[in-house]
Symmetry: C2
Subunit: 207 residues, 2 copies
């Protein structure tokens, strides 16, 4: 094989280590767990509990948090409608790369519009996009208000805030609903276990 051939695109595709090799190494299947819900619905808490639970079973996870990514990759984006869509698109594309790397990628962001979530779903192979809806009523999210954002939105100091003056489109056919039931306290660990069981049942915790 000549040097010319070796540096061509064709050879590169032939010789590279692929997704299935990485999955065998990690003894898991790469996928995206996409946690959507209102601010204060507990997305980050469940993401964290999920990563701990999977890590304790020797599985590699990585959390893409909407807020955190805005400090780096998406630090050029505003909170206007177009840039919110672009924010979600980029996180979807990065999540896809992580899944391709064999990682169980946990994306945690409000992602209020169905079309944006569906666009991310379309990037992944069938089955590998697992949408988790934090079904928590607005009044409870607002009562929690962990970052004080609802207070600011009610005071008119934040415009276009999801749940206040911008809609949240509930998922209709998502893979998992984590519901806050009136009078029954479900812990973040129990919620995480629901997701772990789903991943196990669908073969993602083995190569």
């Amino acid at each position: 094989m000549s040097t010319v051939d070796e540096s061509s695109n064709i050879v590169w595709h032939e010789c590279s280590i692929g997704k299935s090799d990485r999955q065998k190494l990690l003894q898991q299947k790469g996928c995206v767990v996409w946690i959507t819900g209102l601010s204060g619905s507990g997305k980050s808490t469940v993401a964290c509990a999920l990563s701990r639970r999977l890590h304790s079973r020797g599985k590699l996870t990585y959390i893409l948090d909407g807020d955190n990514v805005r400090h780096g990759l998406n630090n050029d984006l505003s909170f206007g409608p177009e840039d919110r869509t672009e924010n979600i698109r980029r996180i979807g594309e990065v999540a896809k790369l992580f899944a391709d790397a064999g990682v169980i990628c946990i994306a945690s962001l409000i992602s209020p519009y169905k079309r944006d979530r569906d666009a991310c779903r379309a990037l992944l192979p069938k089955g590998d996009f697992i949408e988790v809806f934090m079904d928590v009523p607005l009044w409870l999210c607002e009562a929690r208000d962990p970052k004080g954002l609802y207070k600011l939105a009610r005071a008119g100091k934040i415009k276009g805030f999801t749940g206040i003056d911008d809609p949240y489109e509930q998922p209709q056919n998502c893979e998992i609903v984590l519901q806050h039931k009136e009078g029954i306290e479900t812990s973040p660990c129990e919620m995480a276990q629901t997701v772990v069981s789903y991943l196990e049942d669908h073969g993602y915790l083995q190569a």
Copy 2:
């Protein structure tokens, strides 16, 4: 601990699985191997050989290829000067996330300007950005011309092509130089081994 506390940012940062946990799981340290050089200098070939060699030692790698990323995350970017810089910035930010995930991330892209490469280096903790310069003379890259791009550039059908009508700024203080020496054929595997030895000597192949 109340539900309010549990869904706050503070608790999230406390309880999450961190980089060092992932590194222990993978028995390696996350870092970025940034391969820079002219089109046709063999970046992709070395990236591939490196990923194979590390995989055979049970290490998890992921290749971010400049061309491939343009099909996904960076599909909104042109080849104009500003967008080329943005292309590199985004790849740098994604590489940073992979390194944080514990992965040995191999970025393979021309990245002709020192300021763009240095901006990516600045994103990573000290030592974790390993710049590899493919030191291959232009005449040889042009003789290889694996994608036929030099021919198009010489014919004026591609404008601003690195090495033809746009400069390539050679790294001055990079970690590794993979040099094409006149009359001595160095195989991609030997070049990859040079990088593996560097990673080993600097502790990246253990947790």
